[in-house]
Amino acid sequence: MNNKFIISNSIRFVLLLALQILLLNQLPFGSMYIMICPLFVLLLPVFTPRIAVLLLSFFMGLLLDWFSNGGGLHTASLTAMGYARSYILDTFQPRSGWDKLDVPNVNQQGYTWFFYYSLILFSFHHFIYFFLEVFSFANFFSTIFKLIFSLLGSLTLVWILSLFIMRTKRN
């Protein structure tokens, strides 16, 4: 069971990274930067050691920065999100507590649960990314506009992906 998790998460790591670098980074929409990579951190099994979540999100950020000239922006925002994830999972615990093999995805937790979970973590990630990008609170409203626009794009893609991929997996 453990091996299965490692393999599926490694594949997801590579696929999401490739999708981000080769497609989403090249899109010619200026005020919308769709980021899909946080989805990898979201979908790690619940009982992944916290230190592993942190290191994985850090390395994903480093790789992203390396391939998209991010200059540390992705590293900072993904690491922060990786750290925040365990607190969100604690708050969003099911009534009976987490089971050993639980994965926080649509299949196991349901649509509403995943909607709020992804909304909170993606908002957190995008907020850090866009405010570090301008490095100040100058142009506050144009940054907020860009943030909301990108967040809508990212979340739409995340929900479409999770609906399609996870539905077919269950059948």
């Binding site: 980074n25 200026g30 290191l55 390396w66």
Partner: protein
């Protein structure tokens, strides 16, 4: 001692998080402070080669448009050639003497973004081809950016669509000077500072490179005026311009090498020191 051990075992995740975050923030700080990206950039051999391989698809998509711009450039060059042939070199007429000191290196775009506040373009020519930091990059119908990082085989240019970029431009009709920058909002709309309200500037007027810096040759077309509003608190216009080249669909560019750049720069530094 037991206290420290307890702290580390209890808070090791938090400690690691702070360390990693500090590392990332120092990278961001560096890339904001200096005119270059940190060591994590696409001019590296691995990332450059990888992206270059996949960028062939992008080149293929824009093939038709690239062909068209090349044809237009050919026509222009042919006209210039005919003009020069009509005046043989011993006629005493200078052969376009201003642009004499510039050399051009053709480069292919490997990676290109427009959705960040500082956008970089990776090019497949590097230190091996004599590319240095600070050289200008132009396309056949406009200005693209300035080289900021160079590795052996690749180089990185900061696009003019970057909040840190600033290029001096000239209004073609009146010769008024201004500086082209981007406010970070719409990547297809750039801003120009320094045009006085008294000038007869109109919509669709052409802006060209000023040619005072040793980076770009003079009189290269840069942008067209899109929107013009007098600023009420100053004596200048608020000018929004559109670049003449579409940076996101470019595939090939020219890197401008100035033979006299070293001389000009050392002279200017000397002057500043005095």
């Amino acid at each position: 001692m037991r206290g420290i051990y307890y702290l580390i075992t209890r808070f090791y995740v938090l400690i690691l998080f702070v360390l990693l975050e500090f590392f990332a923030l120092s990278l961001i700080y560096k890339s904001h402070k200096y005119q270059e990206v940190s060591f994590l950039n696409t001019s590296g051999n691995i990332s450059g080669t990888f992206l270059g391989y996949f960028n062939n698809i992008n080149t293929f998509i824009h093939l038709g448009q690239n062909n068209k711009t090349l044809m237009e450039e050919n026509v222009l060059l042919k006209e210039q050639l005919r003009y020069q042939n009509n005046y043989p070199s011993d006629s005493g007429l200078p052969k376009n003497s201003l642009s004499y000191k510039f050399n051009y290196v053709a480069a292919k775009i490997v990676n290109n973004t427009v959705n960040k506040s500082i956008n970089y373009i990776t090019l497949d020519k590097g230190g091996k081809d004599g590319i240095q930091k600070g050289l200008g990059v132009i396309s056949s119908n406009g200005v693209v950016g300035i080289i900021t990082n160079v590795s052996e085989n690749f180089s990185l240019a900061m696009s003019v669509i970057s909040v840190k970029s600033q290029i001096s431009v000239r209004h073609k009709k009146t010769n008024a000077l201004g500086s082209l920058y981007w406010n970070g909002d719409n990547p297809y709309l750039l801003q120009v500072d320094g045009f006085s309200k008294t000038l007869p500037i109109k919509k669709n007027d052409t802006l060209v490179t000023a040619g005072f810096s040793s980076i770009f040759p003079p009189d290269i077309i840069v942008a067209k005026v899109k929107k013009l509003e007098p600023d009420e608190s100053t004596s200048f216009f608020h000018v929004d311009v559109v670049l003449t080249n579409q940076i996101n669909s470019l595939s090939y560019v020219y890197i401008v090498k100035n033979e006299k750049k070293k001389e000009i720069d050392s002279l200017e530094i000397q002057m500043l020191n005095e």
